[in-house]
């Protein structure tokens, strides 16, 4: 079981924060096939948020094929992260790390690096 939290200053809609936290836990292998997500009632009782927010998040995750509700029981993860995903992540991460070293050597600070990554990411998305 995982726990949700809410960053009220992030500017990210609460339902999206829940969606992202589930995806994140999934990618890190903290959620596997068959695992149950907290019930809507548990989430609203701990975060003091609107039940519709949680329902919307769970619907979105269901739409993505990541979870499935079992009526009267709860919402369950329906997939596991393929083992080879970890094999794919590892070399990509290494490349990223060496790129970061280069960026620091070139004199970029934390903020400049983030800005460069974000703007490149956006530009690439616009092309795609």
């Amino acid at each position: 079981m995982i726990d949700f939290w809410l960053d009220s200053r992030s500017g990210v809609a609460p339902y999206l924060q829940v969606v992202q936290q589930v995806r994140h836990a999934f990618r890190l292998g903290m959620l596997r096939e068959g695992d149950q997500l907290p019930t809507v009632k548990d989430v609203v009782a701990s975060l003091a948020i609107n039940p519709n927010t949680v329902l919307k998040a769970y619907r979105e995750l269901e739409h993505e094929g990541l979870v499935k509700p079992r009526p009267g029981v709860g919402t369950f993860v329906t997939r596991s992260l393929p083992d080879d995903m970890i094999e794919i992540y590892r070399p990509l991460r290494r490349e990223l790390e060496s790129w970061l070293v280069k960026a620091r050597r070139a004199g970029l600070d934390h903020e400049s690096i983030e800005a460069l990554v974000a703007s490149t990411f956006r530009a690439e998305q616009d092309v795609a």
Partner: protein, 296 residues
């Protein structure tokens, strides 16, 4: 949108002074609606009329399809957590529940006791010995045990410390998840409303400035910052909510469904608090002279 409350031209006059004048508002059914506005906007008067505590001087109002307090059955449909959460000082917690059971047409005793248990409230405690947070929780318990179709809360958490406030809202949201009911909650604490409400109404001078689904509102409002520009030069699909300009720079808050293409602007999203403030600070008639209704 199905409504749980419909007010048309509603007004309440005390002598020469109008506490509420020509108020027309719809509350959606099955939602938690936040009611915000400056002091004196008429929020409490509107809620008191809806609860059947006050009768209107002018206009009409229907709650769950009927006139407020028109019958015992009608009273049973509406639960109220009034401002300053009134209790009977000399009665114990248990006696409050007994009274609730006797006075109400519908009463879920099991629910009431379950909540007391979960809150670890001592039934033998006198109500005037309760902390502010416990007192608010007791009043909420009484309102919930009626199993109302509409729950009205008027500034329920204003005087509570942050922990008691969070606990109150947790209990409220748990109840909303469990029961099918509509809720309207007035508060100045927009950060709380942002968490618990999925619909928001901004009321200024008895008039609805904006009413809509919270996420839709947040998705369609932007802050534009750029070189000074005349407000009339905005594209027609961008509705100006707030405009501020210096001799060099303009800062606009606009509502638009379409993406903002003009490269001159630096565009950012705004939070609910800024959005509410922008509508509250508009001149009385608003730039377009009509309230904004955002589709669900």
């Amino acid at each position: 949108m199905t409504t749980i409350l419909e007010a048309r031209g509603l007004g309440k006059r005390y002598g020469r002074r109008w506490a509420l004048q020509d108020c027309t508002v719809d509350l959606p059914a099955g939602h938690v609606t936040g009611l915000v506005g400056p002091n004196g906007a008429g929020k409490t008067t509107l809620l008191n009329i809806a609860a059947g505590v006050l009768s209107p001087s002018t206009g009409t109002i229907e709650v769950c399809g009927k006139r407020p307090a028109s019958s015992a059955a009608q009273l049973a449909r509406v639960g109220v957590v009034a401002q300053h959460t009134p209790i009977f000082a000399a009665l114990t917690v248990a006696e409050h529940l007994e009274m609730g059971a006797r006075l109400n047409l519908t009463w879920d005793d099991a629910l009431a006791w379950r909540r007391l248990d979960a809150l670890r409230l001592d039934p033998k405690q006198r109500a005037d010995r309760l902390s502010g947070g416990q007192r608010a929780q007791l009043v909420l318990t009484l309102a919930l045990a009626k199993r109302p179709e509409l729950l009205i809360l008027d500034e329920p958490v204003a005087s509570l410390d942050p922990l008691a406030r969070r606990e109150f809202l947790q209990g409220l949201m748990e109840a909303v998840a469990d029961n099918e009911m509509s809720v309207v909650i007035s508060s100045h604490l927009v950060s709380d409303l942002e968490r618990v409400c999925d619909h928001i109404i901004v009321l200024v001078d008895s008039k609805v400035r904006v009413s809509g689904d919270v996420e839709t509102l947040l998705d369609t409002h932007y802050r534009l910052v750029g070189p000074r520009r005349d407000t009339t030069r905005l594209p027609s699909d961008q509705h100006l909510v707030e405009a501020r300009s210096t001799d060099r720079q303009s800062t606009f808050i606009v509502r638009t469904e379409a993406p903002i293409a003009d490269p001159v602007w630096s565009v950012s999203r705004i939070g609910l608090e800024d959005l509410v403030l922008a509508y509250m600070s508009q001149p009385t008639e608003g730039p377009r002279g009509r309230p904004l209704e955002v589709a669900q």
